[in-house]
């Protein structure tokens, strides 16, 4: 029951008018980011970090803002899935399957409303799961020594590509590159200058915020330029809402199943929101069987994946908050915010920064209510914004990224660096080297080195300490599996997800 007390304290933090205002703003911007194709949640949160930073927001407010954006983006992804058959972000892919047919049958408004309700239910279940699981995991994580942490970081990298990832070796390369970049600067423990080449700006290391913004935002712009996707889209009409209470109630079991499955997928390393929504959809199809009209606009086919991906997005916060090890791109970016606020992520956060952790969790609950309220009446507004062509939008987004980075340090040196990261990001994406492990490497590199150092000092230089406890051996085994499984299970799962997409009647 101690958890409940903390949660109440969290609500006290989140319910101050100041924080509430930022939660509302975040939820709004997040939905916008989610529904605009080409501006994924990780991307959007990354652009907002420098702004949150320069505004001098107190840590809990900054985190509440970004968490609200994160939750909002998960809501927003469905809008373009349903109306345009283009997922706004990857986890919203499965929503296309029944959402788009529903829109074609003239029930776009119903699909949007049903998916908003399902998103809410999924998030709610996910957040409740987070509240119950996180403190237990944090307590357990307190028993971790440096050797266990080192193994845990390896596990995070190994599973980041996900079971459905294409080439685990490229994940390894990306992570190594990220960690290498993080070693630039003066070594904390010995004071040795590493890879600074005498350049003063490099002494303090490379700021990961500008690396993140460059890699995500600038490379996105370049991708749009290359594909000439600047043009607008057709105008869309949403139509009248005809959804009945009875229909909503009939999807309740679907929502619960989807939310729970999504949450589990979110917590587990290597699964993530995309897999969460996929599993929820497939299971729903199995449970309902022939009675449903899946793929032709079944309302449950909209509710299941949305509940799943929103459940997963709350679930993904569990490893990030308790272990300091994010399992997805967006949570990695949230971690970047925590680190730049000088908060050491990990189990100690639950005791040392309880107000922030519980404030964020409470904000997640409040944010969800706000999102539901925002999404149903304002959906027409978001739809209008969806027809703003990227040729105007992306240059402005890029400009905001410039402003954000510039206002942190007032140095143009950082801007050149950011552009360089953007160009590098473009090439890496072209070569299918994933960017998220690079970011995670940048963030976790210093911690990883520190833990390695501590472990070896404890053991007097004996390297076998890294795999001497049963817990660390377990972590090593899971990490190994994380690299091997994609070779074995990956092709099968990918083919299935692909096949599910093919079944949709989009060809006509």
């Amino acid at each position: 029951m101690e958890t409940l007390g903390f949660l109440m304290d969290g609500f006290a933090v989140a319910f101050t008018p100041y924080n509430l205002m930022f939660a509302l703003f975040g939820a709004f911007v997040g939905t916008l980011i989610g529904c605009l194709p080409g501006l994924g949640p990780a991307n959007g949160v990354a652009i907002l970090i420098p702004l949150a930073f320069t505004l001098g927001l107190p840590p809990e407010t900054a985190m509440i803002l970004l968490t609200a954006v994160y939750a909002g983006a998960m809501y927003g992804g469905r809008i373009s899935s349903i109306l345009l058959n283009i997922p706004g972000d990857e986890p919203a892919m499965m929503t296309c399957l029944d959402g788009y047919p529903m829109a074609r049958n003239g029930r776009a408004a119903d699909a949007l409303a049903a998916s908003a309700i399902a998103s809410f239910a999924g998030s709610l279940i996910g957040t409740i799961g987070l509240i119950m699981l996180a403190p237990i995991l944090a307590k357990f994580a307190l028993t971790f020594g440096p050797a266990e942490y080192f193994a845990l970081f390896l596990l995070a990298f190994a599973t980041l590509g996900g079971i459905t990832g294409k080439n685990p070796m490229k994940t390894v390369i990306a992570a190594t590159l990220g960690i290498m970049i993080s070693t630039v600067g003066i070594d904390i423990s010995t004071g040795t200058q590493r890879y600074t080449f005498g350049v003063l700006e490099l002494y303090e290391g490379i700021d990961f915020i500008l690396a993140i913004v460059g890699l995500f935002a600038i490379s996105e712009l370049l991708f749009f330029v290359e594909h000439r996707m600047g043009g607008g889209r057709d105008k869309m009409t949403v139509g009248k809402l005809t959804l009945t209470a009875k229909e909503v109630i009939s999807t309740l079991p679907t929502q619960v199943r989807g939310g729970v499955l999504g949450f589990i997928a979110g917590v587990l390393p290597g699964a993530g929101a995309s897999l969460g929504s996929f599993i929820s959809y497939t299971l729903e199809k199995q449970v309902i069987g022939k009675k449903g009209k899946f793929g032709e606009g079944d309302i449950r086919g909209v509710a299941a994946p949305e509940a799943g991906n929103n459940g997963a997005s709350s679930g993904a916060l569990v490893p990030m908050l308790t272990l300091g090890v994010p399992g997805s791109g967006t949570t990695a970016v949230l971690l970047a915010m925590l680190i730049s606020l000088n908060i050491t992520p990990g189990p100690l956060m639950f005791t040392q920064n309880a107000d922030i952790v519980w404030g964020v969790i409470a904000a997640l609950l409040i944010g969800n209510v706000l999102l539901l309220v925002l999404n149903i009446p304002l959906v027409g507004f978001f739809v209008k914004l969806l027809s703003v062509p990227p040729m105007f939008l992306l240059p402005i987004v890029t400009m905001v990224a410039f402003v954000g980075i510039y206002s942190i340090s007032h140095s143009t040196f950082d801007l050149y660096f950011m552009v360089a990261f953007g160009v590098a990001g473009y090439f890496l994406r072209k070569l299918e080297i994933p960017l998220v492990p690079i970011i995670l490497g940048l963030l976790l590199g210093p911690e990883m080195e520190k833990n390695l150092g501590h472990a070896l000092v404890l053991s007097d230089g004996d390297w076998s300490i890294l795999w001497s406890s049963s817990l660390s051996i377990g972590l090593w085994v899971v990490a190994g599996l994380g690299l091997l499984l994609p070779y074995i299970v990956g092709p099968i799962l990918r083919r299935r997800m692909h096949a599910a997409m093919k079944e949709t009647p989009v060809s006509d």
């Binding site: 294409k166 000439r228 240059p395 510039y406 072209k430």
Partner: protein, 148 residues
């Protein structure tokens, strides 16, 4: 299908990994003598991992992606140049002028009509400038438009 992209990347990474690892061995021993972990230990491990990864890439490359050719490549180059020039001119020309130019050129090159593109640039520049300088009191360079 060729796999030149991955092979070239692999080669580049191999060179990087070796140079990175070699540089780590050159640092003087820290004051107080060598302990279990010196400043070079972790970079050395990383360099070994990257050598292995880059060799793998060269031996088992994935098929190539579609690389932009001709006009698209030129457009990409233009965009990068615009970004660099934007960063360069931000302080001398001031935020509003340089942003109008940068956003204008970018959206024009992405397919907008020139007039609408530059109007978008100007409007967004003024809005952000006013918002930052007066709303949030974070100063952006005024440059040419500075009132003396």
């Amino acid at each position: 299908m060729t796999s030149l992209g991955d092979r070239t990347l692999g080669l580049g990474l191999l060179v990087l990994a070796v140079a990175y690892g070699w540089a780590a061995q050159q640092w003087p021993e820290p004051f107080g003598g060598a302990e279990g972990v010196g400043p070079e230990t972790f970079p050395t491990i990383l360099s070994v991992v990257l050598v292995a990864g880059s060799l793998y890439l060269m031996i088992k490359p994935d098929p190539d992606a579609q690389w932009p050719m001709g006009k698209s490549a030129l457009e990409l180059l233009i965009s990068v140049v615009v970004l660099v020039v934007y960063a360069f001119l931000l302080e001398p020309l001031g935020f509003i002028v340089s942003t109008t130019l940068a956003v204008g050129v970018l959206s024009w090159r992405m397919g907008a009509a020139p007039k609408r593109a530059f109007i978008t640039g100007l409007v967004s520049a003024v809005v952000v400038f006013v918002l930052f300088n007066y709303g949030l009191s974070l100063s952006l360079p005024a440059g040419l438009l500075e009132v003396h």
